[in-house]
Each structure stands twice: as structure tokens, then as C-alpha cells.
Symmetry: C2
Subunit: 350 residues, 2 copies
């Protein structure tokens, strides 16, 4: 129950153990195509370029920036947590002119501030679900008001857990990670790109590995070899997306909602104060101040040692002061919420 | 029996299915440390920065270049196959002044040509085992003569299959992939960097994801969070390296040698002509001209459909004309050689 990786679905673990075949094997290519179709369903998009990037969520972030942003391009970035900060770092390494729009950690960004930060940015970039703070940032208003800008959204901790609507919200580039609400081990970064964004790619991206033109030529109809696909992880993602779509996307969102809210109410009953601003709290990632009298690291270690439950610590200035509790993917079950609340009470509050 | 992925060791598949824990879990960190120790043993190095990069072999290549090479740096690259070409592309995207030293595909590079190509290059880069041609390039002479240059070596298809001596040969940066002679599915790139090379890193690499300073701070003692490690794949690599070191590195080289030479002799007996220059033929990857009367794609499809054996096609101008047959990792067994030779005879030569 840390901020990710979550526990993978059982079907995913079985898929991981399937015999490895080649990255150009006809059966693998069918499975890869199905994986991309399933990603389109989960991202709610018809984008042709919808692929699993061969790296973790941060590789997805880098792939999004290096293909879109070149030296001197203006990029507006919303910064209300660690992953907004990371976007600034990645964009700066592409040579971008970064315009930061800051908000206090724990509070949501105001879309209007992002839209007014620059008269004509090439990209507006924002994190949908800030894993460092448990805050949800609003996306739809950015799509409505973006004008000529491209809207780049980090969906690492949102995809599969709360509503994500790439096409309906006007998102141009979105990426995620497998190890959060998709219930798959870490290792791949689902990514989707609108035609509008593809037309504005930089000529030759500074990354060969994450060059979406070349990746698209392998995953797409051309099947041109780029790099060896991580076969076993693609099996796992294929299976995880299957479980998610069998359950139903809305049903998965509802399950995350029920579990997250139960956890948040339960923690408040036990005397914890929630960290994230009310009305913008993620159900899949709960943040709470560590109560007085509890020593952060040793308490988390006790939970791990006595109950096998991982809980994440705060980051940045909130290290030692805040807990981050994930309820994502297969982990988002009422039994896990009940167990954690019982364990906290048993260990620390008796 | 394609040019990779090879069949993983059974122990590796079991490791893949182990429960996923967090990337900061104390038990995972022990396993990560052991993995790095095992990589040092396999690379034959004491380099402190010896890590699994969270991407496939090509991510290892990119990590090597982006941390070492900045705009205007002179980089000598040996080009006698697809992966030498790829090095030129990756180096150019770093802004390098690339000096190409070419040799015909199928022939080995002359180390002296590489050493004489530029009076004071920052980097001399070469592929040890060219997966596109089946040729072994000599490395030790480059280490002897490199002077102030840094020696960067692609060991994707060599590590575990033939002798690799990072420290004894004076290699400064080496990387590999998991899916060849290590007998692990694709998804990680083992990488090692000498202290000498670390002192000459570019200030801030253009890649955030592959920034070896930041990666080293997570894998090393500081344990500073960078990105979420691909837990399951690290389990798999840990297990694969365990199998390899239990067998013994020299014993693994000898097994690859026996199988590869048996395959090459067997193919010649069946009337195939070998493609790679004699004296520089890799045992783990055999290349042979497709005999007259055999249609490349349909013949390879028959092998796959009737025997479940994958064989790779040629690349570049040799597509349709050459076969690439891997005998790597767990696949490097006499029974597989015998089966393939029997299948070829049965299907095409009766």
C-alpha cells in the first residue's frame, strides 16, 4: 500500500511467466496490437500512436518531452509536487524556456493560472494525479482553453483509478506507468499522442531510444525493428489491461473511489489529519500527516515487519511528516483498507 | 534460436513470478545490491557504478553516450554492422563530432584503424559482438592503445557468452542486454562505468531518465529515489546471473563455444556457407547465407510453425539473404543445435 508499485493482478503474474518468444514473432505481434487497442480503450482515445514505452513511467515523461520540445520552445509547467518539478527538469534538458506555475504542495493548481502564464506556449504540461501529495489537478479546463498549445498530461497515478478522457478533454500527449492503478509490475510506460501533436514533433529527437517516430514504425504497420520489446512485461500489461477492461473502466474507478474514501474516513477517525486539499483528494493515493508521538520511519517499518504492509513516506520537505498510502489496482480492495486501519490501531493507538 | 531474445533459464521464470515489493523495501534493496555484485563478477570489474539500467540494451547504449558525450566531442565509432551504425546515430544526437571507421559487414574491425582515426578523441566506441553480422571485434588492443580516450564497448551479445574483461582490457563503459547470453527476458541493460569515465561525465546529461549520477544515487548507498525500479525484471536478472555464476563464467563461455561451433560445422555440412569472416565468428550468433532454392521468409516461417524454432533474418542489404541463428544463454544446448540441424534437413533438403 505504498505509492506504487501496487500488487499486480494474479492474471498478470501468470502472464509474466509465459514462454518468451521473439519481438517479431507473429503471435507476439498480435498480442502487441491487442495491447495497444486495450490502451486506447483505457486512455479513451482513438490516437493511432498509442504504445507501451520500454521503460518506467519516467521514461514516458521523457518520451513526451523529447519528441515535442526543442531548444527555445516555451513550456508552461504546473508545479505543485515532485512530479511537476521533474517535468521542469526534463523540459529544461530539452532546451525549453520553462514557465513555472506554482501552487503550494497539497493544493490543486488553478487551470486559469496555467492558461494565463504565457501568451503562446508550445506546450502546457501538468500532472493529473500528483503522487507526491495525493492531489488531483483538473485537466478538462486546460483542454478547453489551450488554444494552439499542446496539452501534455502525466497520468501515471490516475490511469485506471480515476476518470481519464484523453480525447474528450483535448489532451495531446498522455503517459502513465504500469505499477499504479493498472495492477502490473513497474517497467512500461503507456503513452498516447494526438495527430495534432505528431505534426509538431521536433525534427530528430535528442533521444534515439525514445524517438516516437521510430517506435511508431515498429509498433505500427511497418514493423520496422527499433529495439527489442520487453516481451514478458508486454505480456503482463496485456493481461492487466484485460482484467481492467473485463471489470469495466467505470467499475474500476468506482472501486478505487470506495476504497480510497473508506481509508480517508478511517484515518480521520483514528485521529490522522489528511494532507491534500479537500475536494482534490485522490482516492487511489491518500496522504496524511503523521500524528504526534509517532516516529515515521520506525512506524512504517513496524507495519512492514508485523503485517507485511508497505506505506510510503513523504518527500521533499514533508519527509518524516507525511504518509502516502496507495490503494491502487489489485490492492484497491476493502479488505486491505480494513486491515491497514486495524493494523495502525493495533500497533500505535492502543 | 533467433538473435535474441533467447529462452530464459527456468529459475528466471520462477523469479519473475515472485510477489512484487516496493523499490525501497529493505529486502528488495538487498536483492538489488546482490544483482550489482553479480554484474561486477560477470563484467569482471570492480567498478562502483555497475547497475541494471531500466530499459533494453539500446537504453544501455544511450545511457553510455548521453553521460559521456556532449556537443563537439570527438567520438570514433567502429562501423561494421547495424549496431555500430546505431552508435553513430546516438552519438550524433548528443552533438558529437562522429568519426566513422568502417569495415565491410561480415568482417572484423582493425583495432589499429580505430586508434589512428583521430589524434585525441574523447571516446572510442565499438561493438564487441555484432548481432547483425555474427562478427566478434577485438577489444583488448583498443584498451592498450587508447591513451586519453575513453573506451566504450557494446557487450549486448557478448556478455556471458564469450570472454568479456572490463578491467583487464581497459574498458571504461560497457553495457549489455538481458535477453542474449544472460538467459533473461528483454527489459534491462546491465551497465558499468570506470571511475576514470565518471570523472569525465558531461555536466548535466540531456537525458533525465538515463542520468547516471542520479541512477547511481539510488542504486548506491544514498538510496535517493530516482525512478521506480522495474522490480520483477530485477528479480529475473538476479536469478539469471545466479544461474550463470553457479555454472561458472568460463564454463558458460565453453558451452556457448561448443554449441556454436557444432552449429557452424553442421550448417556447412548441410551446404550452407557461413557469412562472418573466419577467425572472427561468434559462437553465440551464427550467420549463414540462405542457400539457393530456399525462400527466406517462408522457410523461417516453416521452422517456426512445424518445430517452434525461431531463426532470424538478415538486416539491411542482407535481408532475405542471410540467416542469423542464436545459441545463447539457456538456448545454448547441444539438443537445440541437433534439433535445428535435423529440422532444416527434414524440411528443406530431402
Amino acid at each position: 500500500m505504498g505509492p506504487g508499485p501496487s500488487n499486480p493482478y494474479p492474471e498478470v503474474m501468470q502472464a509474466l511467466a509465459r514462454p518468451v518468444v521473439g519481438h517479431l514473432d507473429p503471435e507476439f505481434l498480435v498480442l502487441l496490437d491487442e495491447t495497444c487497442d486495450r490502451l486506447r480503450a483505457v486512455f479513451r482515445t482513438s490516437n493511432q500512436v498509442t504504445v507501451p514505452i520500454s521503460g518506467t513511467g519516467s521514461a514516458g515523461m521523457e518520451a513526451a518531452f523529447v519528441n515535442l520540445v526543442g531548444p527555445g520552445d516555451s513550456v508552461v509547467v504546473g508545479v505543485n509536487g515532485l512530479f511537476g518539478e521533474r517535468m521542469c527538469d526534463v523540459a529544461a534538458r530539452c532546451g525549453a524556456d520553462v514557465v513555472r506555475v506554482e501552487e503550494r504542495w497539497g493544493r490543486a493548481l488553478d487551470p486559469q493560472h496555467l492558461l494565463e502564464a504565457h501568451p503562446s506556449p508550445k506546450v502546457i504540461a501538468v500532472v493529473h494525479a500528483e503522487t507526491s501529495t495525493g492531489v488531483a489537478n483538473e485537466i478538462a479546463a486546460l483542454g478547453d482553453g489551450k488554444g494552439d498549445a499542446l496539452l501534455l498530461v502525466d497520468c501515471v497515478t490516475s490511469l485506471g483509478g480515476i476518470q481519464v478522457e484523453v480525447d474528450a478533454w483535448g489532451v495531446d500527449v498522455a503517459y502513465s506507468g504500469t505499477q499504479k492503478c493498472l495492477g502490473v509490475p513497474p517497467g512500461l510506460a503507456p503513452l498516447t499522442v494526438s495527430d495534432r501533436a505528431r505534426e509538431r514533433f521536433v525534427g530528430r529527437s535528442q533521444s534515439w531510444y525514445l524517438d516516437l517516430g521510430m517506435i511508431g514504425a515498429y509498433v505500427g504497420a511497418a514493423r520496422r525493428y527499433h529495439h527489442t520489446a520487453p516481451i514478458s512485461m508486454v505480456y503482463a500489461l496485456h493481461a492487466g489491461l484485460g482484467v481492467l477492461l473485463d471489470e469495466g473502466l467505470e467499475q474500476s474507478w468506482a472501486r478505487h473511489e470506495v476504497c480510497g474514501r473508506a481509508l480517508q474516513r478511517g484515518l480521520e477517525k483514528l485521529g490522522f489529519s489528511l494532507f491534500a486539499e479537500e475536494g482534490h483528494r485522490l482516492p487511489e493515493l491518500t496522504t496524511a500527516w503523521v500524528p504526534d508521538g509517532l516516529e515515521d520511519a520506525s512506524a512504517r517499518r513496524e507495519l512492514l515487519d508485523h503485517y507485511g504492509i508497505e506505506v510510503g513516506g513523504g518527500v521533499g520537505e514533508f519527509a518524516g511528516k507525511v504518509w502516502r498510502i496507495g490503494c491502487m489496482g489489485h490492492t484497491a480492495r476493502p479488505r486491505n483498507v480494513t486491515l491497514l486501519l486495524g493494523a495502525v490501531e493495533e500497533l500505535f493507538l492502543r
